[in-house]
Amino acid sequence: MLAAIVGGGLVGCRVGQPQPPPRAAARSILPTAPLGPAPRPADNAFDADERVSMERKPLGRRDSRRAPVVGDWALVMGPWDSGGIADLHAEPSDASRRLRQLLLGATVAIEAEKNGWCAVRSRAPDDAAGWVRCDDLTRGSDLVRERWESDPKVVVVRAPALVVGPCHVPFGAVLPFAEGSAADDARVLLPDGRWLELQARDEAPWPPGLPAEAAVRAARGFRGIRYADGGNSWQSMDDIGLIRLVLWSSGVIAPRDSNALASAGDLASDFRAGDVVVFADRRRALHPVLVVDPETGAFLEASPSRGVALDTLEQRHHYGVAMHRRFEVAGARHGSTASAE
């Protein structure tokens, strides 16, 4: 099916004018065997699957035989069983602190290389410096850059992820249209040049992304995802990672720091879906949450005790509301917007 990207080359792919493929069916990701190590798909495990069609283009691709070029651009393409996500670490080591997760297709500039790790500076929405495994990046950047910079794109808005076979295309991944894509038939390009057809309900044109209300409705799909520092995907989530990811899907780049978040965007006093409320506890620690239903006072948060979960303002009455912010693509003064990137 989808993956088979590692060292894929052109073997087994269809060239010329591919027939319109059947749509990739998104389905629940509830696992069948919750415990035990996740199986890693073999390199060519999905080539024979007829439900997904992909055409590989000689664009950038992962190739561990080629050294990364410092100063080059690259696209994030982690292992498929991680949904193409790459962890960004503070040091060139898995044991170092994870700063955040870079989503499939994120653009990075390679600044250095050391023992199989690349020092990168990522662009929006992450806008961060750190280390990723070089194997999680594409090589050969000119065409990549051209396509990723110029083509119209879509953002994946299926939470917690769009599941294609054993692969999870992450919520928030921004991917360019592939050639021959029709308006109601979004065929998107993957960083190694294959394409994947998305159903309309799983994507939104980028920019501007989803309206705030639709974004938080979609984000309810993250409920139950476990909490871990530096998480911002279906694998794990931290409090600010959740908020930034959902805002990103509606075209807003929010700060990653709680204090900065509490003063970004616009001050608001009436509740709307997509507003960020920042609670403060007795110790003045800040807890940002995302309003999902103004009527019930329901909000979504990533909490260490429950993972991503809904709660109500009533239940959290013991916290004070330190800030109530609204982020809108047009007119945002403090947060920047994706369209401005």
């Binding site: 415990l35 602190r97 959290r316 004070g320 509301v321 330190a322």
Partner: protein, 748 residues
């Protein structure tokens, strides 16, 4: 409520509008400034909430501020009581000496003074305390004297012996045992007296008392030591071992087993078998032997004892008991063939015996994990079909549901959960089954899922599963679900009017003592009122007094016995169930210490808050500072001395003593430190850290890091291999939400 929230927010916004700079956000939630002199009422309120450190500092301010004499007397009495509860004995004695010469309940100040001197082993005050302990009974009110006399008599013995006055001590001990032969302190007095007689050279007298401790009260803390002394004296030809029949020896072995003294139980069983190699007594002895050997993990010997019984008497009525022990031991050695053989034997000979059902259940779960899932499921199915309705059948259905779920057969899981709900309405798995039934069918049948979760909210709104059901309903936008049983709590006695029950003895004294903060004395007075035992409102007052005086385990026992319905299904509506009830159920003693310790720890600035620490303490020790676990974990947060030693060593400090760890402040300090280390170990995620606090970090890191990353947290919890840890984490997460709503509003 919406209006209230809006008002809070507006206030928050107003506060922040002036301070737009990010570093100056939230300001309104710090502790309020205290510029006025504290009052006794404030100090009492803090003490009532269990905030002993804050109460004590306010009382010290009152004493040093030269308030009215009466206020100072009251403050010193309460301060002495609090310092004693904090195990700060020298400080307690200082306050109580003053209070004892004051005008407010001086007899209780004296009583507490004696306690402080004895508990703190304060040599310089022992003679003074001895005089008080001897004279005080004559000064007590005739109604109160019987409540305190036994304790004072014990203190006389303790103080005499501490001063080295052995003969007087032994005589006082004997006199005490004549007056209270089965009193609650007679075990310790018997030991002290025997020890004194031994040291005085009256070994025959000592032998008699040691023998009584060993044979009559083997579960007392002194039993093992008494037995050592007995054996030493017997080896010198002093005293004669108690002659026991084989039957009596087996009964004694069973008492030893219950006290955890398995080596001794094995010895007694072997002696019984030597006396009676066959017959009923021998069969009972073999069962007792097999059980003790199983608990000693001498697995092959345990299996051999059970085999011996099967050979000796194949139709013995004791055979299923022996089989149960043997299967338990054989599971550890993975002796699959022998385990299956035992299942076959008991099923053939005792097909309808409850013990057989238990064995079949154990064998099925063994097969599930060690042989094959198919055989395990087959055995569980057979058990469900044949076993009487009860906990085993419920458990089997629950395990089958998850086996089906994990095999990808959610419909199979739903049918098992449905069977629990319809055929076993009293099942202990009902809450879990209601929740997961809803989860598994929500996509296909929304209405049924909603119905299931609404039932759960009515039956157990304050449980882990209740909280999850509320979230699921919130997600579906379902409102107006009834939470709880809707019952009104019985009226609570405000306990402020001594004349409310003129016919009840002890009542006025109890009210007076409670008003002075002498809660434990008030509780004892209240317990002595015969009419109060049948009055729920008085039982609730008693539970509160016990909880406040540092005896939460006794309080919890009363709450469970009298108010079970409210514990599981009580409404949160304060017009139905008063906040005092929830405060008693969910104690929050030492709150200030917890908050300050967190603020000074590496957990500062994280989301791990005082409510989580409170839930953990409630689970670990029930807020009992003196709690000791069978493996030696100590105090509120159940710290192992080695763990505390490691933390101290990492910081270049001397390791805390065992006594130190009973001090709530010290215990919380080390416990929070350990929790912080675990949270750090798991990358800032405190869910696995809490699991690791119970199951150890190695086990948890194995489960956590190998789990598929897309497994939702609630499903992960149901698949934790250790059942203790599964229950532990669910209890803590459920309690955490309860602490949040119960104490949130009063978070000053």
């Amino acid at each position: 409520m919406r209006r209230l929230i809006a008002a809070t927010i507006v206030a928050g916004l107003a506060a922040t509008a002036c301070n737009h700079a990010t570093e100056e956000v939230p300001t309104e939630h710090g502790l309020p400034a205290q510029n006025v002199a504290p009052t006794l009422e404030e100090a009492r309120r803090l003490a009532d909430d269990g905030d002993l450190s804050a109460a004590a500092s306010k009382l010290e301010e009152i004493v040093s501020a030269h308030a009215t004499d009466r206020d100072v007397d009251e403050a010193e009495l309460l301060l002495g009581r609090i310092r004693l509860q904090q195990r700060r004995h020298v400080d307690a004695v200082a306050a109580l000496k003053s209070a004892a010469s004051g005008s407010v309940a001086p007899e209780y100040a004296k009583m507490l003074f004696v306690r402080a001197v004895v508990d703190g082993n304060l040599a310089q005050f022992q003679e003074e305390a001895l005089g008080i302990a001897r004279d005080l009974p004559a000064q007590l009110d005739p109604e109160t004297k019987p409540l305190l006399a036994e304790e004072l008599s014990t203190h006389v013995v303790e103080l005499l012996l501490a001063r080295g006055r052995l003969a007087e001590g032994a005589e006082a001990g004997r006199s005490h045992l004549r007056a209270w032969p089965t009193g609650k302190r007679s075990d310790s007095v018997r030991w002290m007296t025997a020890d004194a007689l031994d040291r005085l050279g009256d070994q025959a007298g000592a032998f008699e008392l040691y023998d009584s401790i060993w044979h009559d009260t083997p579960s007392s803390p002194w039993a093992a030591r008494a037995n050592e002394r007995l054996e030493a004296l017997a080896s010198r030809g002093i005293g004669r071992p108690r002659a026991l029949t084989a039957d009596a020896r087996v009964a004694f072995a069973s008492s030893l087993q219950r006290a955890g003294l398995h080596e001794s139980a094995v010895r007694e069983c072997n002696l019984a078998l030597a006396d009676a190699p066959a017959g009923e007594a021998a069969e009972s002895a073999l069962v007792a032997l097999a059980r003790s050997l199983r608990d000693l993990r001498r697995n092959r010997e345990c299996a051999a004892a059970a085999d011996r019984l099967r050979t000796m008497s194949p139709s013995s009525r004791h055979l299923p008991d022996a089989a149960l022990a043997a299967v338990g031991a054989l599971r550890r050695t993975k002796a699959t063939g022998e385990i299956q053989e035992w299942a076959r034997v008991v099923q053939a000979r005792f097909p309808r015996d409850e013990r057989t059902a238990q064995i079949l259940y154990d064998v099925a779960t063994y097969c599930m994990s060690e042989v094959s899932r198919a055989e395990g499921e087959q055995r569980l199915e057979a058990l469900v079909a044949s076993a009487p309705a009860g906990p085993l059948a419920d458990d089997a259905l629950w395990k089958l549901a998850w086996a089906r779920r994990n095999a990808g057969d959610t419909a199979g899981a739903v049918s098992r959960l449905s069977a629990i709900l319809t055929e076993h309405p009293k099942s202990g798995f009902r809450k879990a089954a209601l929740y997961w039934y809803g989860r598994f069918i929500a996509e296909s049948d929304r209405a049924k899922a909603v119905e299931s979760w609404q039932s759960l909210l009515r039956e157990a709104p304050n449980d882990y599963y209740g909280h999850h059901a509320a979230e699921e309903l919130l997600n579906l936008g379902v409102r107006d679900s009834t939470m709880g049983n809707g019952m009104a709590f019985p009226p609570i006695d405000s306990f402020d009017d001594p004349s409310r029950h003129p016919d009840w003895p002890h009542y006025p004294t109890a009210v007076h003592l409670a008003r002075l903060g002498l809660d434990d004395f008030a509780a004892d007075e209240l317990r002595a009122i015969p009419q109060a035992a049948a009055e729920p409102s008085m039982q609730f007052v008693l539970a509160r007094l016990l909880a406040r005086s540092g005896r939460p385990a006794e309080a919890r026992k009363i709450l469970r016995a009298q108010f079970e319905d409210f514990l599981t299904a009580g409404s949160r509506d304060p017009s139905l169930v008063p906040p005092e009830f929830w405060h008693a159920c969910y104690p929050f003693n030492h709150r200030t210490t917890i908050v300050r310790t967190l603020a000074d720890s590496r957990l500062a600035g994280t989301q791990l808050d005082e409510y989580l620490v409170a839930s953990l303490i409630r689970m670990e020790s029930g807020f009992e500072p003196d709690a000791v676990s069978p493996v030696g974990a100590i105090g509120l947060m159940q710290l192992m001395p080695a763990t505390a030693g490691r933390i101290a060593s990492d910081r270049g400090l001397a390791p805390p003593t065992r006594e130190d760890l009973f001090d709530p402040d010290v215990n919380i300090h080390y416990g929070v430190d350990e929790l912080g280390r675990l949270v750090h170990r798991f990358g800032g995620d405190w869910f696995p850290a809490i699991c690791a606090y119970n199951a150890g970090e190695e086990a948890v890191s194995g489960w956590w890091e190998k789990a598929r990353p897309d497994v939702k947290q609630d499903e992960f919890i149901e698949n934790i291999p250790y059942s203790d840890t599964r229950l532990y984490i669910k209890q803590i997460l459920g309690d955490y939400r309860n602490y949040q709503w119960i104490y949130g509003q009063s978070s000053d």
